[in-house]
Assembly symmetry: C2
Homo-oligomer: 212 residues x 2
DNA sequence: GTCTATATAGTGATAGAC
DNA sequence: GTCTATCACTATATAGAC
């Protein structure tokens, strides 16, 4: 029954710096480069201070994940609720920072506490997006392809963007230009699509963009 | 000028076991779970034996990567050269073992020797597939969508399959059924597509599959 | 709130016996 | 070909001074 260890407050500036440093480190050098000493060095504080704000390394990772998850939920909700939700989703998922979630996926292989949090976030994130897309599809003229469930469109879009971001970060660019051109063409088709119910509101993957 | 350290031969059975163990470990618990002692324990040998076959841990990772890369090149070349190359590609990329490359991508963030090898493999892999797909598209009746560069089709297919494999491995299945149904529908369309040049050989993402 | 010092356990890698 | 023993280093985490 020893006294509980002391711990820093949530709104400390140092705490934010530690979160920033960890996030940057994960993106640049991968989760394995994150350690008490390394984070402390980058933040220019003593190693013990890291464990003053975060009891364990897992807590540090979890805090970074939660902050990012909240931010993603907020940003995506705002952007998706626009005139061009699909393009917004594509742009959002194509940001370099989107690679952070992939890093957490890799990390979660051997940190089970993180897997739970990550699965939870992914589920909430996807459901929120489906809800917004579906609502917009019902309410407005809807720039969305018919016959494709919003959730499938969501998975496809985010998956493709995510892989491109990761490959780009590794210096792989083979086929990216062609793929991005294809996405751009599809997005334009959705955005320029006529009202639902019209015959050629379908989305042709091939073709010159018109109905010939 | 000390004598070089001793080292095992390429075709040793123990060596193969160590490679198997490492690959399995990476898939199940992530690259961070791979260590000299852990691999030795799983293979039921002494830790020093791992470093007898692989001078450093990097060498072990590289050997696993190279074996997998060679195997992927061979398998994909064989499968892609079939009547339904796209479906073959999809099935191949959807195997659980495909997650290994993702794990190496994460690992390569802080092991530069691995990044080079991985980029090299990815480039050769993609080019081989493009070459086969393009050749088949030219030679045969071609079950391929027009207006979409083979390389873009390749990136799209492998990216989507990869993300689904990873998510499945984490227990996330949200939207997978709908996405797989969409892929299945597209694959069927390609396979059942008439000869190129015909008006409706285009690929409709929406619609009931016919030209209505 | 931040530090120094340290406990305890882990790591990759090496030398040399069998 | 496989082992035991060990070196040098790093890891997370804790205790307690300032």
């Amino acid at each position: 029954m020893t006294a509980p260890r002391r711990m820093g407050t949530e709104n400390s500036k140092t705490r934010q710096v530690l979160l920033d440093v960890t996030e940057r480190l994960m993106l640049k050098e991968g989760y394995a480069s994150v350690g008490v000493r390394r984070v402390a060095r980058e933040a220019e504080v003593a190693p013990a201070l890291v464990l003053y704000y975060f009891r364990t390394l897992d807590d540090l990772f979890l805090a970074v994940l939660r902050r990012r998850a909240d931010q993603e939920l907020e940003t995506s909700a705002r952007l998706l609720d626009s005139a061009r939700p699909l393009r917004a989703l594509w742009d959002l998922s194509s940001q370099p920072g989107a690679a952070l979630i992939s890093e957490f996926m890799a990390l979660s292989h051997h940190r089970t506490a993180i897997r739970a949090e990550l699965c939870d976030h992914a589920e909430r994130y996807r459901r929120l997006q489906v809800e917004i897309l579906t609502r917009k599809a019902a309410e407005e003229g809807l720039p969305l392809p018919e016959g494709v469930p919003p959730v499938a469109l969501l998975v496809l879009t985010t998956a493709l963007a995510r892989v491109l971001v990761i490959e780009r970060g590794m210096g792989m660019t083979d086929g990216h230009a062609e793929t991005e051109a294809l996405v751009e063409r599809l997005l334009r088709q959705f955005e320029g699509a006529p009202l639902p119910g019209v015959a050629d509101s379908r989305v042709a993957v091939s073709g010159d963009g018109g109905t010939a």
